[in-house]
């Protein structure tokens, strides 16, 4: 059984704008899925729907086979959630915040909570408002994972943290994954973090799933072809080719992204549009993101 199962999910913003459109995403136990997309692409909406904080306008949502709206408590006890804009009560002490969470989760693991607190070197007596941003996020992570959730939802968890605090946060997540086989869905604008951590990538654009792929496959079998600007081939012609995901027109030429390895893209271009000498490169996630988002019709 999949940990997360979203089928044909639609969601609207107030005013009738589609926030998610026919989204299908499933996550297996132990998988780490990176969720990327521009601001407003629907990442947070997707997380909130998975959490049961929002109901979908259309479609079905299942976590561990359960409906997170109907089995709200049962589902929430099995997941952990950290977001960038999560606010812990500023005047409470760290140990009180931890107590609060402990009381909510029957599966709370005191030993794990203590280990994490020691590792983070956060004094239990400190008031939340005296903590740095990174420390506060660590407390939030501790509270999100000490009940050993089967699914960890991280919505831009590293936002606003410095590189060292970000890395520390990722390390802790990996450790948990190792210990408990927790599945992780995390959204991030830090694409290097996504490359590092994720097995699978889901890219949202305008509320739709643009890419859902094993990350290594993405790295090995996607390529960018650089084509001349002299009008030998049009953008529409390229977009009509099988495997072409996006084309950007720039003054120096066309840049076409293909879901094919570089050699295959070269062959395809030679056979179909008669351009045999277009350089085809493998590209990293960040470039892929820019080409894709900038190359949509």
């Amino acid at each position: 059984m999949n940990v997360v199962e979203l089928n044909n999910v639609d969601q609207m913003y107030a005013g009738g704008v589609l926030a998610l459109s026919d989204v299908n995403v499933s996550i297996e136990a132990g998988q780490v899925v990176g969720l990327v997309g521009e601001n407003g692409a629907g990442k947070t909406t997707l997380m909130r729907i998975a959490m049961g904080m929002l109901g979908p306008r259309r479609g079905t949502v299942r976590l561990f086979g359960l409906d997170p709206r109907r089995d709200a408590v049962g589902v929430k006890r099995r997941i952990g959630y950290v977001s960038e804009d999560q606010i812990l009560p500023p005047f409470l002490r760290v140990d009180r915040v931890i107590d609060l969470h402990r009381s909510l989760f029957p599966t709370w693991d005191d030993a794990l909570a203590r280990r994490l607190a020691e590792r983070f070197k956060i004094s239990p007596k400190a008031k939340i408002r005296t903590l740095s941003k990174g420390q506060a996020r660590q407390v939030a992570l501790l509270c999100a994972v000490a009940h050993r959730p089967e699914l960890l939802l991280l919505d831009e968890p590293a936002g606003g943290l410095d590189p060292a605090a970000r890395r520390e946060f990722l390390e802790t997540s990996i450790r948990l994954l190792n210990e408990a086989g927790t599945a992780i869905l995390f959204s991030s604008h830090y694409l290097t973090d996504v490359e590092r951590m994720a097995d699978r990538l889901v890219m949202l654009h305008d509320g739709r799933v643009l890419i859902d792929s094993d990350l290594d496959t993405l790295r090995e079998s996607y390529s960018l072809a650089l084509l001349p600007a002299n009008g030998t081939v049009s953008r529409d012609r390229l977009l009509a080719l099988g495997g072409c995901l996006g084309v950007r027109e720039r003054s120096e030429g066309l840049r076409a992204l293909f879901a094919l390895a570089p050699g295959e893209t070269s062959e395809l271009l030679a056979e179909t549009v008669g351009i045999g000498d277009a350089p085809c490169h493998r590209i990293g996630l960040e470039e892929m993101f820019i080409e894709l988002v900038g190359g949509q019709a």
């Binding site: 890395r167 490359e195 030679a270 493998r282």
Partner: protein, 167 residues
């Protein structure tokens, strides 16, 4: 041993892991029978998904470079386990690229072979008997009747990884 990975690199992370372990074995920094870090430990060290490490280890095992013994850990395999045909294919792809580049730079085959000897010395590899270079007629027939050729620097570059089309 210590590994280092760079997420923005051209190679996916599991391949970076494979390449570094392969290099360490080829360079003698990891000897036959030596124990590797567990998949979990390596995932934590590198801060990458455990499935990524698993994929790298699985591939290395398929290549015959390492073997996992249930309950005991993962160890560097014996040279004999390397599938010579597969290794030769990898080497051939590397050789093709090396020679194309040499041709472009106006470097002769003899100079390339001399370079290979220099690199071999730098890496501290024992001379491979009747392997690469010493047959005197270039890379095409290297290793044909000798023992499996030693590992190249980049044995995992499949032909389709090349940026240039094949023909």
């Amino acid at each position: 041993m210590q590994l280092f990975i760079a997420p923005g690199d051209e190679l996916p992370i599991y391949r970076q892991i494979m390449r570094q372990i392969t290099d360490a074995i080829a360079g003698g920094r990891l000897g036959p029978g030596e124990k590797l870090a567990s998949q979990r430990d390596l995932a934590e060290q590198l801060v990458v998904s455990p499935l990524t490490v698993k994929k790298a280890y699985d591939e290395l095992e398929r290549e015959g470079l390492i073997r996992t013994e249930r309950g005991r850990g993962t160890f560097v395999g014996e040279r004999a386990a390397v599938d010579p045909e597969r290794q030769r294919q990898h080497l051939r792809a590397g050789a093709r690229r090396l020679l194309s580049r040499a041709r472009l730079s106006g470097v002769s085959l003899a100079e390339v072979i001399a370079l290979l000897h220099e690199v071999e010395a730098e890496l501290g590899l024992a001379p491979a008997g009747d392997g690469l270079g010493s047959t005197g007629d270039g890379l095409g027939s290297a290793g044909g009747d000798g023992p499996p050729a030693p590992l190249s620097d980049h044995p995992f570059d499949q032909p389709h990884d090349q940026e240039e089309p094949e023909s």
